[in-house]
Symmetry: C2
Subunit: 162 residues, 2 copies
DNA sequence: GGCTCACGGACAAAAGTTATCCGAGTTGGG
DNA sequence: CCCAACTCGGATAACTTTTGTCCGTGAGCC
């Protein structure tokens, strides 16, 4: 799995805390990651329709739907793509005992097992939303820090406290 | 996921049909794949203890346990490794609102969700054994072909029928 | 003792990932 | 109405990981 998935998830949780759009540079500064590379992940989120980008002086990124309507799977598929990890190469149709193609209407057993596992994985990720992540984070982070974060998102660039 | 997983699974199903050891070259010929690369996958299976290699003139590979005692997950982990796909880089400990390390005893919510999904995936693969794959294949392949395969495994190199 | 076979590491090629830059478009103010 | 600053977006390059191949070494059978 791409490492950008983690960044994208953190960005979504942060965006859900802000009413106004947040520029990519600010998201990168908040998470202390490479701005140029994070921009790429945000573009993927935008292309997937999870976030909307606004240009101009007070532009930035914002979620297109409520955090309760965005699942972790949505974000993972936006970054890593929706293709399953396993791809059957039809080994059964090769070699001296090859099964003729006309008998290969259904996917082979191995592919079925892999698809089933892939479905279980996706189901598990689909069951959690960005709102769930935020709620769980709020249970751990002190309320004061949350308020400081909101202020930091609204205000200009702030020098981190010593 | 590595493409060698598919080959390894096919090899295991084939090995379960043979009482005698099968050389790597023969396994490669049966599946019509690169012998040099398949040898590498077989080494991984051997290192994981799933197959035993016998050297000498009538040597080859054989399963160490009954096919009912080898799960698909065993093979997948032997080839691809047992490490989870997602690795948390502790983004929460970075940036202006970093959470202090002493408060990070439990893994962050995102890592928990990913681990849970990974567990669901592995559970699904663990539920199927090599014997299940063979049983399902026998339901599709004509009995005559199965017998021809057994004969091919016993005998020397056979020219495929026209 | 000669032959065949499996093992292991070393080595090259390919793909995917990570990282960076510069141009196009938009907003807001003068 | 024009200018300037700020934003995203796509194209481009370096790196790491994976994939694939090869040959030398050691061990067992005839």
């Amino acid at each position: 799995m791409s490492g950008g998935v983690e960044w994208a998830l953190h960005c979504c949780t942060l965006l859900s805390r802000s009413a106004e759009p947040v520029p990519a540079v600010k998201l990168a500064e908040f998470h202390d990651v490479s701005p140029s590379y994070l921009a790429k992940q945000l573009q993927l989120l935008s292309r997937a329709g999870l976030v909307r980008s606004a240009q101009g002086n007070s532009g930035g990124y914002a979620l297109t739907r409520a955090a309760t309507q965005i699942t972790v799977l949505d974000v993972v598929e936006a970054i890593d793509g929706a293709l399953p990890a396993f791809r059957c190469t039809e080994v059964r149709q090769r070699g001296p005992m090859a099964t003729p193609a006309e008998r290969c209407t259904a996917p082979c057993t191995i592919a079925q097992v892999m698809d089933s596992a892939d479905r279980a994985w996706r189901d598990s990720l689909r069951a959690v939303t960005i709102a769930d992540l935020v709620a769980d984070a709020d249970r751990v982070i002190p309320p004061e820090t949350i308020e400081r974060t909101r202020a930091w998102l609204r205000g200009g660039t702030v020098v981190p406290g010593t």
